[in-house]
C-alpha cells in the first residue's frame, strides 16, 4: 500500500533529507514492503499550518504538523511546544517529550483522536545556541542586544539575559541578522551553514539554551491507519524507538557537529563562562512558574500538576537516564521502548 506523505517543511531541510525520508524508508523496510510512501514536500501540496487539516481530511495519508498552530483544536498537545526551556540534550529531550506525550498526557492522546490522526512520535530539534554578528562571549556582553528568536518560549530566556528578544518568522530571521536588524539569533547551530550565515555570524556561545519542541513529523490519518494490517502496525510501532534515535542523531546532532568542526577556526566560540551558566540555572529554576501561566493560557486542566509532571520527566531523562545511554544507542532504544512505545497500542 502506498501512502502519500505531505509536509510544508522545505524539501532540502536537513530534517527532511536526513530525518523524515530515512524514517519513511525504514518503515517501508520493517513492514517488508507492505507500505511505501510518496513524499510531497516543501509546501507544494500542504503548507505548515495546513498540515493538520490535510492529514485529518485525508488529503494525504500521512504528514507533518506543528502542534502549536492548533491550540484551540488540541489544547494539551499544543502545550508540548512550550517546553523549549526544559531541555538541553537532544536525546534526553526527545525521550522525555515522547514519554509525556504518549504515556502521561491522556488529554494529548484524546486531542489526537479527536483530530482523526495517529501520531508516530513528537519531536524535539537541536539545542539552541546564541549566534551573534559581533564579539560576544559571556552574559554581560549580551545586555541590551537584540536577539532574534523563532518561538515564543525562547523569549523568556532572552529577557532573563537582559537582552531584547525580537520574535521573527523564519523568513525574516535570516535577513534580520544579515541586515543588522538583530544582533544575535538564538538558533540551531547548523543554520550557520544551511542558511549561509557564515558571512554574517562572528561569534557563537555554544552552550545548549533550550530545544524547540512540539512538531509531529509523522502522523497518519486514522482511517488509513485502521486499514493497515495489525501486524504491520505492530512492526511500525516496534521500530519507532530505533528510528527516533537515528532521526535525532542524523538530522540534528550530526549537522551540528559538522558545523562545530569547521567553524572553530573561523568564529569566536565560547561556552558563555560561569556568568551564563549561572543565568541559565536560575532561568531553569524560574521556568516552571512561567510554564504554569502558559498552561493556564492554553486552558489545560490542573496546570500545576501537568507542569510538575513535565519538569520531573525531563529531570529523569536528563539526570537519571542520560548517563546510561550517552554513547550507547541500544540502551536509549531499549529505554524508549520500555518507558514509551510498549504502552502504545497499535
Amino acid at each position: 500500500k502506498t501512502l502519500t506523505y505531505g509536509s510544508g517543511v522545505p524539501e532540502r531541510a536537513a530534517a527532511n533529507r536526513l530525518g523524515v525520508l530515512p524514517m519513511l524508508d525504514r518503515l517501508t523496510q520493517v513492514s517488508d514492503g507492505e507500505i511505501r510512501f510518496t513524499p510531497i514536500l516543501g509546501g507544494q501540496l500542504v503548507s505548515i499550518p495546513g498540515g493538520l487539516p490535510a492529514i485529518r481530511d485525508h488529503v494525504v495519508d500521512a504528514g507533518f504538523f506543528l502542534t502549536q498552530f492548533h491550540p484551540a483544536d488540541m489544547p494539551a498537545a499544543s502545550f508540548m511546544a512550550e517546553l523549549t526551556g526544559l531541555g538541553t540534550s537532544p536525546l534526553a529531550t526527545i525521550g522525555a517529550l515522547n514519554e509525556i506525550f504518549f504515556t502521561r498526557c491522556p488529554a494529548c492522546m484524546a486531542d489526537m483522536a479527536r483530530q482523526n490522526v495517529v501520531p508516530m512520535m513528537i519531536q524535539s530539534a537541536t539545542p539552541l545556541v546564541l549566534q551573534c554578528t559581533g564579539q560576544v562571549s559571556d552574559a554581560p556582553d549580551l545586555a541590551g542586544l537584540r536577539v532574534a528568536v523563532i518561538g515564543q518560549p525562547e523569549m523568556r530566556w532572552i529577557e532573563a539575559l537582559g537582552a531584547i528578544p525580537v520574535r521573527s518568522s523564519v523568513s525574516d530571521i535570516l535577513s534580520a541578522l544579515q541586515l543588522g536588524q538583530a544582533d544575535c539569533g538564538l538558533l540551531p547551530l547548523s543554520w550557520i551553514r544551511s542558511y549561509g550565515l557564515q558571512d554574517t555570524i562572528r561569534s557563537v556561545i555554544d552552550r545548549p539554551q533550550g530545544i524547540i519542541t512540539g512538531a509531529v513529523p509523522l502522523a497518519i490519518n486514522a482511517d488509513t491507519w485502521s486499514t493497515l494490517p495489525q501486524t504491520t502496525r505492530q512492526k511500525m510501532i516496534a521500530a519507532m524507538p530505533g528510528i527516533i534515535h537515528d532521526y535525532v542523531t542524523s538530522a540534528y546532532v550530526g549537522p551540528d557537529d559538522a558545523v562545530r568542526g569547521e567553524m572553530a577556526e573561523r568564529l569566536h566560540v565560547s561556552d558563555g563562562g560561569p556568568t551564563l551558566a549561572a543565568a541559565w540555572a536560575s532561568f531553569q529554576k524560574a521556568e516552571p512558574t512561567a510554564l504554569i501561566e502558559a498552561a493556564r493560557a492554553h486552558g489545560l486542566e490542573n496546570p500545576e500538576g501537568f507542569v510538575a509532571m513535565a519538569v520531573e520527566t525531563f529531570r529523569i531523562w536528563h539526570e537519571d537516564l542520560l548517563p546510561r545511554f550517552t554513547d550507547d544507542p541500544d540502551t536509549f532504544t531499549a529505554l524508549l521502548k520500555a518507558r514509551v512505545y510498549d504502552a502504545v497500542h497499535p
Binding site: Q68, P71, G144, R146, Q152, M155, I164, R167, R296, A297
Partner: protein, 156 residues
C-alpha cells in the same frame, strides 16, 4: 439615489479591506517604532497581521472588483463573437462565477463556523489571539462575490 443591495455589500467589503489595510500599516509602523524607540517590539504582530488582518485585506475588495467589471480576464475572443453570442457568454460566465463563489462561500462558512465554535485562537506567551474572524472573512467575501456576479448577470 437608492443603492442596490449588491452595490452596498460590495462597498462594505471594500471599506472593510481599506480600513484594515490602514490598521495594518499603523500596527506594523508602531511595531517598528516600538522596537527602535523603546527596545520592546509589540507582541504577536506577525500573528495578528497574518491571521486577523490579511484575510480581510486580500479578499475584502473582491466583490467590488467583480461588481465594477474589473476582474482579471482574457479578452482574446471578444472580436470574433457576434453581439448576441457575446451577451449569452457573458451571462453564462457570470452564472459560473456566482455558482463557484456560492459553493466556496458555503464550504468555507462551515469551516468558519467550526472555528467559531472552537473559539479558534493562537497562544503567544500568556496572550490569546482570537483568529476565527479571519476565517469568517472568507465566506463573507465569497458570498458578496456571488451576489455581485448575479447582479452582473442581470445587468448584462
Amino acid at each position: 439615489m437608492q443603492r442596490s443591495l449588491p452595490d452596498r455589500a460590495c462597498r462594505i467589503g471594500e471599506l472593510a479591506a481599506a480600513t484594515v489595510i490602514g490598521l495594518m500599516t499603523l500596527h506594523i509602523g508602531l511595531d517598528v517604532a516600538a522596537l527602535a524607540l523603546s527596545g520592546t517590539p509589540l507582541r504577536g504582530t506577525a500573528e495578528i497581521v497574518s491571521e486577523l488582518y490579511m484575510p480581510f485585506v486580500v479578499f475584502g475588495g473582491l466583490a467590488a472588483v467583480q461588481y465594477a467589471g474589473d476582474e482579471i480576464r482574457v479578452d482574446i475572443i471578444d472580436g470574433i463573437l457576434s453581439q448576441p453570442l457575446r451577451r449569452g457568454l457573458e451571462k453564462l460566465t457570470q452564472l459560473i462565477v456566482a455558482l463557484a463563489a456560492g459553493a466556496l462561500a458555503w464550504q468555507t462558512s462551515l469551516q468558519a463556523l467550526d472555528a467559531l465554535k472552537q473559539g479558534e485562537h493562537l497562544v503567544i506567551g500568556t496572550m490569546r489571539i482570537i483568529t476565527w474572524p479571519g476565517k469568517a472573512a472568507i465566506p463573507a467575501a465569497f458570498a458578496m462575490l456571488a451576489l455581485a456576479s448575479i447582479d452582473r448577470m442581470r445587468r448584462s
